[in-house]
Amino acid sequence: MKKFIQCHSHFSFLFLGLALCLLQCKQQRNSDAAGHVSFAPVQRIPDDTKGNPAWSKVNILVCHVTAEPPTLHPTNGNSSPWQEINQYLHAFLININFRNPGLEPGILTLPVISPDGLRYTYKIRSDAQWDDGSPLTRADILFTLKASCCPLTNNPHARSYWENLLAVEADPRDTLAITLVMKSAYIQNTSILAEVPALQQTFFDPENILARYAIADFRQPSLDAAPPADLVKWAQQFNDEKYGRDPLFIRGLGPYRLTSWDAGQSLILEKKKNFWYRANDNIHWQASPDKIIFRLNRDEVSQQLEFKSQALDVSGTVTIKTLLDLRQDSVFLANYHAAVMPTYNYTYLAMNQKPDGIRRQKLFDEVRVRKAMAFLTPVDEMIRIVYKSYSPQCRRLAGPVSPLKKECDTTLALATYDLQAARRLLEEAGWKDSDHDNVRDKIIDGKRVPLTADLHIMNTTADWKDMAALIVSSCAQAGIRLNVISFDPKVFVEKARAHDFDLMLGVWGGTSHPEDYAQLWHTDSWLNNGNNYPGFGNAASDALIDSINYTLDSEARISLVRKLQKLIYDNQPMVFLYSSLRRNIIHKRFTHVELYAERPGFLLNTMQPGTRMHDEVNP
């Protein structure tokens, strides 16, 4: 009896312990019934209350970067470093709201949109001033828009967006009002202005050449064939690289100016002494550090040493490995905050569902085979490989809409690893191992075709290889043989666009802006070798995408986007893996630190040196 009671009590304790563990795991992931983890788009880092006498008291912030922008030209650049640095040098026409994803007023107010969605009326700020003391005027805004639209401006990346602008009207009764007349009521008509910095007309066009042309003139085919000499002269001067590299020629309405650019080393921004914005409520136009230095360092060992010696203050570009290695160091933890934030990016496994049958076999054209691949992809394992101890904070996806967005349909269940379900689907689709070589096969167009596919990955990091190895091993159990081939990123994208792949592991970047799903999911995008790599889509989905693009009411758009998500979910052109995490390191001597899901992930101009300094803590 005594023995029975002892066994019973041991077993009870074991059961209780197990239950507690399971409960704890569930609490860590904080997931809903469908398996989705919730995150906010902003995270406030608590200010350090202890201080450290050894910390530097200098109000200079050194931000670590791994790439410098090719150019800082206000219209001709578009890289991530361009955006990250120019947001401190320039004031954009519309600002991104980092805290509540959406748009907020910048140099222009948010527009009053006409009922037909074609006329966007903005008001210009009356208090903005250029560095030479002259006020921002409507002429500057007009010039900014014309410079962006001019076919001779070297901005091919943005040309397609500006095609939608038909005309710009200046209200004669209100010198601060401006109306943009658009070709169609498109959801990105306003958000495009979040990437357009205000330009000073007298500086960039002293002869006022662009004033002679209307936007409509730029659409004339004759202009392409024989551009006027004065426009050519202006464009040659405007496209000159000095406006993108020389600190003397980089001018904007932002709180900082570029004082030095050492190629391959650093860029130094200094706070303007007479900055026009005096209030404190707009986070884009605050200027807390006296200097911001962007310091380039690509080597992981060197990065770790610089953090240990506190030569760097902030980083949003370290690898997970570097972050985890640094966190082993108690000195690092005493000096820095280390945190991850969700992003709008996601990683996926795409399947070519419209192969030509010659270059690529018809392996994944059936939805059952694609669903089988979803069951065979060990997503949780992949997350553990990539994010290691941060994996509980990584969010899985069921579709192409970021869980940070309201329009994300969180009722769609995430695929779980299920070998039996995958095998059953493959059998139903006609893939059987008829020759008993452990690889399934099928008769297609009169020929026996084995279920052997190429899995394309990029050769940038070892994580891709590890993830691919997991997929290969998992698929082998279901009778699918995969050959992993790694490519340089450029070749990888080329092959994807040419539909020369069977499977590919890729990543897609996103923002909080309303997304144009045509780029990824419209059949046109597949037809013309765009970004619709898998070849998803039909007339119904195209019509839905077109409806989304032209539905300006964000609430009405939510149900449409969810319908599209369901279509994509049912069709399974990709196995959606996870939403990327951004790795952030911030020195504790800075306060008022917020981390955002929207890139670049933080605003350096808002970080203030701590007020509790040595003399207060240890008098």
Binding site: P70, S160, R295, V331, K354, D356, S525, N528, A539
Partner: protein, 485 residues
């Protein structure tokens, strides 16, 4: 000697021409299209929408601007069946398909008719799609399916597949009255296809044709043109595709650090190797000789990236010996505004110690061993014995008689410095974040920045030849027996 120098300079020109051809060919054959790279951030082209034309126009304009729609070289050896304007056809996939069709058919006119028929069909379909964008879903689905078949026709050189697609298109057109607007285009395609596949003259493809192209990419690169700069011969290497910065200024920004490191490393290597080798050669087989040789072998076998990381972990680590900075060539805040060149050099010195060690250690190992062997060989010569017999002290014998004759192999190695001064070291510069040529070249390769790459290849070739010429002159200076006549 003057005649020899003149002959070498003439060889320079010929060799430079060959180097420029090779580098040009490499950049042309490298995968990827710089136009696509520059447009890659744009919205993907949408053939069945009004924006497709805009993107395609940009592609054409950009290609024209960069001169990529010109033939590659002055002469081309092609099949007589192909046209001399095939290089103007983009995208490359279309060009390859047309080449394959020409190979089968042997008649470019017929292939061209067929291709134009397909384009006409696609254009008509796209215009109809745009004008009827709000039509019913089933009809739009049919138009989409037709577009897919059209794309298949454009991309396949296989006649059987193309024939099947054409038959399918014809069947749909004939059975669906709403698609009659395409009947003329489809009939045109069928006629062209029949003309192309009936009685092919594939033997025509094997007749060669030599063509001359006055305006070509290489010519434009050498001599420039009205819209594209002055050309390489006038010192203008064009603009970087990525930053739009003149290639010359891009290289001048980066060259000083690489040259500086290369020459400091070489000077350090010679300063250490010569006396060390002399000391080792004084008693060959002695304990110093053995120990130093073993150390040099060990040194030479260490990979550069490993040593660089090790040096960082020891000498730039605040937890071990924080003697040197971990990255960069100057302090984070830059140089003081009024500092002179020598003050700046003094400030940068600690940043350059570890990279210099990494640059030079292998060179020291090789050079010391080479000099030691060379000195040992020279020391056994008769004239050295004679010098000793004459009563000269050992130091004079070694420094004045043995060493100049033993330096010849070391002088040969000096020629390697010159290409190193241009090319740098990608690994060392990446690890230490040195803004030199090595990291610049690596980034240019990654971003397919061909103007920069062609310039670097050409300059590296030139500096290699200059290096070898200087070593030849130094040979003559060191060894009176060597004369060029």
């Amino acid at each position: 000697m003057a005649r020899y120098l003149l002959k070498r300079i003439v060889y320079f020109i010929f060799t430079l021409f060959l180097i420029s051809l090779v580098s040009f060919a490499v950049t042309v054959c490298a995968p990827g299209d710089p136009v696509d790279r520059l447009l890659s951030s744009a919205v993907a082209g949408q053939e069945m929408s009004s924006q497709a034309a805009a993107v395609e126009t940009q592609r054409v304009q950009l290609r024209h601007q960069l001169g990529l729609d010109l033939p590659l070289f002055y002469i081309s050896l092609q099949s007589a069946a192909e046209p001399d304007t095939l290089h103007r056809i983009f995208p490359l996939a279309d060009r390859n398909t047309l080449k394959a069709l020409t190979k089968r058919c042997g008649n470019w006119e017929k292939v061209s008719d067929y291709y134009l028929g397909i384009l006409n069909f696609q254009r008509t379909l796209a215009l109809h799609y745009i004008r009827n964008a709000s039509g019913e879903a089933s009809r739009k689905q049919k138009l989409n399916d037709l577009a897919v078949l059209g794309m298949g026709l454009r991309s396949t050189p296989d006649e059987a597949v193309a024939g099947r697609s054409l038959r399918q298109i014809t069947e749909w057109i004939n059975t669906d009255s709403s698609l009659q607007f395409l009947s003329a285009q489809v009939a045109g395609m069928q006629r062209a296809f029949a003309g192309m596949t009936k009685e092919p003259l594939s033997m025509n493809y094997y007749c060669p044709a030599l063509r001359f192209h006055g305006e070509n990419q290489y010519h434009r690169w050498l001599f420039g043109s009205s819209g594209s700069g002055k050309g390489v011969l006038r010192g203008d290497f064009g603009l970087s595709y990525i930053s739009r910065q003149p290639v010359g200024s891009y290289i001048l920004d980066r060259l000083p650090w690489t040259v500086c490191l290369a020459f400091i490393s070489v000077l350090l290597a010679y300063a250490i190797s010569i006396p060390l080798a002399a000391r080792m050669a004084k008693k060959p087989g002695g304990s110093l000789d053995h120990r130093v040789s073993a150390f040099l072998y060990l040194l030479y076998s260490m990979p550069g990236f490993w040593l660089a990381t090790l040096l960082l972990m020891v000498f730039a680590n605040p937890e071990v010996l924080p003697v040197f900075p971990a990255s960069g060539v100057k302090p984070v805040a830059g140089y003081p505004p009024d500092a002179s060149f020598f003050q700046n050099a003094w400030i940068s010195l600690p940043y350059l110690v570890l990279p210099t060690v990494c640059y030079s250690y292998a060179f020291i190992a090789v050079l010391t061993r080479l000099l030691r062997v060379s000195l040992q060989q020279v020391s056994g010569q008769d004239y050295i014995r004679t010098a000793r017999a004459k009563g000269l002290d050992e130091k004079t014998v070694r420094l004045k008689h043995a060493l100049p004759n033993a330096l010849l192999p070391a002088v040969t190695l000096f020629a390697e410095v010159f290409p190193l001064a241009i090319g740098g070291s990608v690994i060392i510069e990446s690890i230490f974040t040195i803004p030199g040529m090595g990291s610049g070249i690596y980034q240019s390769i990654q971003s397919q920045d061909y103007p920069v790459l062609v310039c670097v290849f050409t300059l590296t070739g030139l500096m290699t030849m200059v290096g070898y010429l200087l070593t030849d002159i130094t040979y003559a200076f060191l060894d009176p027996r060597i004369r060029y006549s």
